[in-house]
């Protein structure tokens, strides 16, 4: 119990709870099942990407190319759908190609970061502009709508096993799988170890380059899955649909308590971060607040959350037993 009270997820959990209570009191719609499912469905893409970004951030890296990778794969999905129109294979092809292409693109980021020691923010900035440029060049920015997508894919998008949209289930499955990976497998523990202290991790026999290759490839693979979810959610392909989305993804991870310098981050925390952004947006809409206020509130909450985190950490440090060091 005391472990739960001290965890860095607590702060965000409390904010989320307070916000939800306030919304439940003021709006009769908020606490209905439909509305909650809508929030989850609308934020599944953000959630999936944020889960991948959590691993990258734990290793002390960052990936600003996620939005461009996701957009590129939605376009590939669109192209596949058109060329394989309405055979059962188109669904199989999409589900195989999207994560695979994503993982390959992620691997390129991983190679740049791991092998050449280019700072992750710069390396992924470079791949971002290459990919975004290529996507726009290929599509000319043209939008694709549901009439271009195969019937089988549209049926999949509408599928609701147990009354819950399949998109939400994919989000949950990704979260559960990644949580297990991070906490109960060798590669997952290596990710955490590397973030905590790269030198110690190396001396403990962990091959740091492989860990980096893995997290960026995994991020790319999840971007592929997010691209499928996005295409199913909007029933269309918009090559410009993800402009600037990478910063929202990073914001969700950071709100969830991950340390941007590496070493700490958790899947439950990130999900809370995603939910906070989602609930806030939903609440502002339900409360008929001018949409222009949304960014201001989001920005203020990010500032408050990160400041709270730093102040708390400083206080903990001050409370620790002091060791006198002779100069």
């Amino acid at each position: 119990m005391s472990k739960i009270l001290k965890s860095s997820e607590l702060g965000i959990g409390v904010i989320l709870l307070l916000l939800s209570t306030a919304l439940a009191v003021t709006s009769p719609v908020f606490l209905t099942g439909d509305n909650i499912l809508d929030i989850l469905k609308g934020n599944a893409v953000l959630g999936i990407l944020a889960i991948g970004m959590t691993l990258v951030i734990i290793t002390g890296g960052i990936d600003v190319s996620v939005a461009a990778v996701t957009a590129a794969i939605t376009v590939i999905i669109g192209k596949l759908a058109v060329s394989l129109h309405d055979s059962g294979w188109s669904l199989v092809a999409i589900f195989l190609a999207a994560p695979l292409v994503g993982a390959l693109l992620g691997l390129i980021n991983g190679l740049l970061v791991a092998k050449t020691k280019i700072p992750p923010i710069v390396a992924t900035l470079g791949t971002k502009s290459i990919l975004a440029g290529a996507t726009l060049y290929v599509t000319n920015g043209a939008y694709m709508n549901s009439s271009d997508l195969p019937e089988a894919f549209l049926r999949f998008a509408q599928w609701k096993p147990l009354g819950v949209s399949v998109l939400i289930l994919i989000f949950f499955a990704v979260a559960l799988f990644t949580w297990f990976l991070l906490n109960h497998t060798v590669i997952g523990r290596s990710v955490v170890a590397m973030g905590g202290n790269p030198v110690s991790a190396m001396r403990a026999g962990i091959h740091l380059q492989s860990v980096q290759l893995f997290v960026y490839a995994y991020m790319g693979c999840l971007a592929g899955i997010a691209a499928i979810v996005q295409t199913a959610y909007t029933k269309g392909v918009d090559p410009n649909g993800f402009n600037g989305f990478e910063l929202t993804v990073i914001a969700a991870v950071v709100l969830g308590g991950a340390n941007i310098m590496g070493g700490y981050g958790s899947i439950p925390g990130t999900i809370l971060g995603v939910l906070l952004l989602g609930v806030m947006q939903n609440g502002l809409i339900l409360a008929h607040v001018d949409t222009f206020w949304q960014d201001i509130v989001t920005g203020a909450i990010i500032l408050i959350a990160v400041t709270y985190d730093v102040i708390k950490r400083k206080r903990e440090e001050a409370n620790r037993a002091k060791i006198e060091i002779e100069a």
């Binding site: 050449t116 710069v122 470079g126 971002k128 502009s129 290459i130 222009f292 949304q294 990010i302 500032l303």
Partner: protein, 313 residues
């Protein structure tokens, strides 16, 4: 003189590209086109210099372009409501400085990491701009204001003169003043700098104020040149300004970077995009090329650093 330093290499690339474009791109080496480039380049150049100073302290400023948009919108709102040009500009600069102070306060005083603070303030500034403009653009400025971005002094465009003045002043500030040297020191080793008796909080605070000032100047040039202000003015410059600073030799982990390098890098960006544009290459391909160049330069840096290391070992 080390003729193989990063800055000299950038110089060779700049000269080589200029020569190539002159020889092979019709219309490149014409007065009209050259002057056009001198009008276009300062916006990105000024933002990149602001970004460079932040990078020198191992920080980053993601809010710089939306702060510019905010300053631009404030100036535009005042101008269209009949305030005089100097008053409007002062108000825009003051707004930007207040934003820079907000960044500086959280980063230098509270100690939150720069990427997080500026991620938050970026969203915040964007929201304020949206609230002020309702997503619309503001236009219709007095003649004297549009002179700043479109005017010529003799045969030289005014924006490039502003850029040149800023580059010279910044170069002096960084190399000849206590603040400038402290910026480099802080970037190399914050703890050692603090223990040398330097008020690091104040040094970092001024860094973000300087970046904010650059945002304001760039905003004034942009709004004046386009004769309008809206939320996404200059937003594409955010990642470009980081790319230019890094291409110009600035170390993203702090401590190294020179004004001349960044100036040459902006020039290289401008020559490439202008030359390819004249050849009819689509702007998307140019984006891809910029990304390739960024990664290419870093790979070259990596290989040459490694070779140097193996020679000394």
């Amino acid at each position: 003189m080390n003729f193989l330093s990063k800055e000299w290499i950038l110089g060779y690339v700049f000269a080589g590209l200029f020569l190539l474009m002159t020889l092979f791109v019709p219309g490149f080496f014409e007065a009209y086109n050259l002057i056009n480039m001198l009008f276009q380049l300062p916006e990105l150049g000024i933002l990149s210099l602001g970004m460079m100073v932040v990078l020198l302290t191992a920080g980053i400023d993601l809010s710089i372009t939306f702060l510019a948009a905010l300053a631009g919108v404030i100036v535009a709102t005042l101008l269209t409501n009949g305030y005089s040009v100097p008053v409007s500009i002062l108000a825009g600069v003051a707004t930007a400085l207040a934003g820079g102070l907000l960044n500086g306060f959280f980063i230098a005083v509270v100690g939150v990491s720069p990427i997080l603070v500026t991620l938050g303030t970026m969203t915040l500034f964007e929201g304020i701009v949206l609230l002020l403009t309702k997503g619309n653009s503001i236009s219709g400025f007095p003649e004297s204001y549009s002179l700043i971005g479109n005017g010529l002094l003799g045969a030289v465009p005014i924006p490039i003169l502003i850029f040149a003045a800023i580059a010279v002043i910044l170069s002096i500030l960084l190399n000849k003043t206590a603040w400038g040297r402290s910026v480099y020191m802080f970037g190399n080793n914050p703890t050692a700098t603090l223990f040398s008796g330097i008020n690091t909080t104040r040094v970092v605070l001024w860094v973000y104020l300087f970046a904010a000032l650059m945002a304001a100047v760039a905003a004034i040039i942009m709004t004046s040149r386009y004769n309008s202000a809206k939320v996404d003015i200059g937003s594409s410059y955010l990642l470009q300004s980081i790319a230019v600073a890094v291409l110009g030799g600035t170390s993203i982990s702090g401590g190294y970077g020179k004004v001349i390098g960044v100036v040459l890098a902006v020039g290289i960006f401008q020559i490439i995009s202008n030359g390819l544009n004249l050849l009819g290459v689509s702007s998307m391909v140019i984006d891809m090329l910029m990304g390739t160049i960024l990664i290419g330069v870093l790979l070259i840096n990596y290989v040459s650093a490694k070779r140097k290391q193996s020679q000394t070992a």
